[in-house]
């Protein structure tokens, strides 16, 4: 089978390659995130849990960024795949005594398959219709996870999910859990970078620029969109499973529509379509939630206001702030 050639300059190699991908501001943000992780490891306590969750959501957002950022589509329903991942892992490990890792991979396979058959018809939609169709996908999954009590145990949820591990080696301590998650985030991040700069990734970014333009250059738009959707679903499923292994308990609320809105917030706060955006957004938003939680009843009010202000005044998120400074410097 001959595949059409996408005419595009290869990304430069070496140091120039590095500079073309990141600006100094983004690298700085990543370093801050890494330092925060180290701080959490050093001090332990509650910050440890916050950073664990941030890492899990970072994995989710890296996947979502593929579909939303690079491809320019919207899915408000990725929580559906996290739900499949989480419940798949929980059921396989608790009911059938599987090892955590095979359970995670099996759930990912199931999620990917679902994403394939759901995405094929759904991705023909655009704009608000796509947003609502995917949103309803998430809501249907949420309702099913409540109603199908024989499989999901409904509101009761699943408890006693074993922690991550291979064979006899299990990750029991909270600190090692965070280290494992951080390594997995780094792996997912590296994988996403490789895919972003591949022929496929460049095709995706062409789609976000102009679907017609991309099609004219020989990008198979529907197929590329579908693959991006499946990739996002795989990341979401892995994140869902990791949540189950890390916390040890899941319930429908974990994977409810609120998860969609929260991960969207993370992506927008971090910077949708940027490389480091998903990780930065996940860390910043998770920390923000904890900071605001201190102010009692007003936490959600403050959260919503921060989100609105970000959307209005910094629509490209934190990662793009560096470009803002640079432009000002050039103007001056």
């Amino acid at each position: 089978m001959t595949s059409p050639v996408i005419i595009s300059a290869k990304p430069p190699a070496g140091a120039a390659k590095f500079a073309s991908r990141f600006d100094r501001f983004q690298v700085g943000l990543l370093v801050v995130a890494a330092l925060l992780t180290c701080a959490a490891l050093a001090y332990g306590g509650f910050l440890l849990t916050v950073m664990q969750l941030a890492m899990i959501y970072a994995i989710f957002c890296i996947g979502l960024n593929f579909f939303m950022g690079y491809t320019g589509q919207a899915s408000f329903g990725q929580n559906a795949f996290a739900c499949v991942g989480g419940y798949g892992s929980a059921i396989l490990t608790v009911q059938y005594g599987w090892e955590p890792l095979p359970a995670l991979l099996a759930s990912m396979a199931v999620s990917g398959f679902f994403a394939l058959i759901i995405g094929y018809p759904t991705l023909r939609l655009r704009g608000h219709y796509l947003a609502m169709a995917t949103f309803s996908l998430g809501l249907i999954t949420y309702d099913i996870s409540i109603q199908w009590t024989s499989v999901t145990q409904g509101y009761m949820g699943y408890a006693g999910i074993p922690p991550m591990g291979i064979g006899n080696w299990t990750v029991e301590s909270e600190r090692w859990k965070l280290v494992t998650l951080a390594v997995l985030v780094a792996f997912g991040f590296w994988l996403s970078l490789r895919m972003r700069d591949s022929r496929f990734g460049r095709g995706l970014r062409a789609i976000s620029g102009s679907e017609n333009g991309a099609a004219a250059l020989g990008v198979r738009v529907p197929r590329f969109k579908l693959i991006a959707f499946v990739i996002a679903a795989l990341y979401a499923s892995a994140a869902g499973s990791l949540f189950a292994y890390t916390i040890g308990f899941i319930s429908p609320e974990v994977y409810g529509p609120a998860m969609s809105i929260m991960t969207f917030t993370m992506l927008f706060v971090g910077g949708v379509g940027t490389i480091v955006g998903p990780i930065i957004g996940a860390v910043v938003t998770s920390l923000l939630q904890e900071v605001v939680r201190g102010s009692g009843h007003y936490q959600d009010v403050a959260y919503a206001i921060v989100l609105l202000v970000t959307l209005i005044y910094a629509p490209k998120g934190i990662s793009a702030l560096g470009a803002l400074f640079r432009r000002k410097k050039e103007e001056a």
């Binding site: 939303m68 919207a74 408000f76 018809p121 759904t122 023909r124 939609l125 704009g127 608000h128 219709y129 947003a131 609502m132 169709a133 949103f135 309803s136 996908l137 809501l139 249907i140 309702d143 099913i144 409540i146 109603q147 529509p257 809105i261 969207f264 917030t265 927008f268 009843h297 007003y298 959600d300 009010v301 959260y303 919503a304 206001i305 989100l307 609105l308 959307l311 209005i312 629509p315």
Partner: protein
Amino acid sequence: MPSVAELSQSLVNGVGIGLIYGLIAIGFSVIYNASGIVNFAQGVFVMLGGMFAHTLLTSYGIPIWLSAIISTVLVAAVGVLVQIFVINPMWRRNAPLFAIILATLAVQLLIEQVIILTLGDRPRTYPEFTAGGPLKIGTVAIPYQFFWVLGVGALLVFALTQFFNRTRMGRALRACAQNREAAALLGIPVERMLIVAFALSAGLGAVAGILITPTQYTAYLIGTPFGINGFIAAIIGGFGSPVAGLVGGVLLGVIQSEAIVFFGAGFRNIISLTVLLVVLMYFPKGLFGGLEKKA
């Protein structure tokens, strides 16, 4: 197999709730047509309508008809505030579509939390507008409130059709819907029209909320289900004329009620969301999208 009486009773219930969905659907399409924005916080106006009316009725002792009017005006004002402080800044900056959707969801979260803080999270209800009832036809009971919903719904659709066809402002709104640049060139103040659209849409949502509260209840969290069902109704109707929105709502309401009879109440949302997906796949312009010219 459910009996005929059960089916016809659920048909009545379905039409009643469907008319409410229809009103919300019209609210969606008014904003969508004027701005190209789908306001995902539409359901929150329904909730506010019921909450304000209840507060005015019980805390201030204002008669129901006056409470209803004041509540509608207040909610319309909230709609205007949302437009001015959230939508307009994003619209002027050419924010991406999905950012605006997320912003409307954030508005919903914000308003819900403010309501919990000020009015509490307790569900509340007030008596039907006309005491007595229900009207019995054979074994089928029709509450009097049903006739209020039917009457107000019909009246509003008639008034809206007249508004869009006869008045200068209504025509200006339709001009914005067809082509915003051209409308602006013709001297129509497009941003002011958007404010009108939000006020109108919020008011419609409030009326729906005020009408439904006696037969169900209102609480801070009813916004999402009503918003989603209203959106589904708008999609079935095809974002076109007020009549199409109302018919879409009634269709959805009836499908939902019958689904409850056949599958049980837990599957109500699953059924209506499945209807949404099917309509989106096969009738992306709505059931009436191909049939009628834009009103």
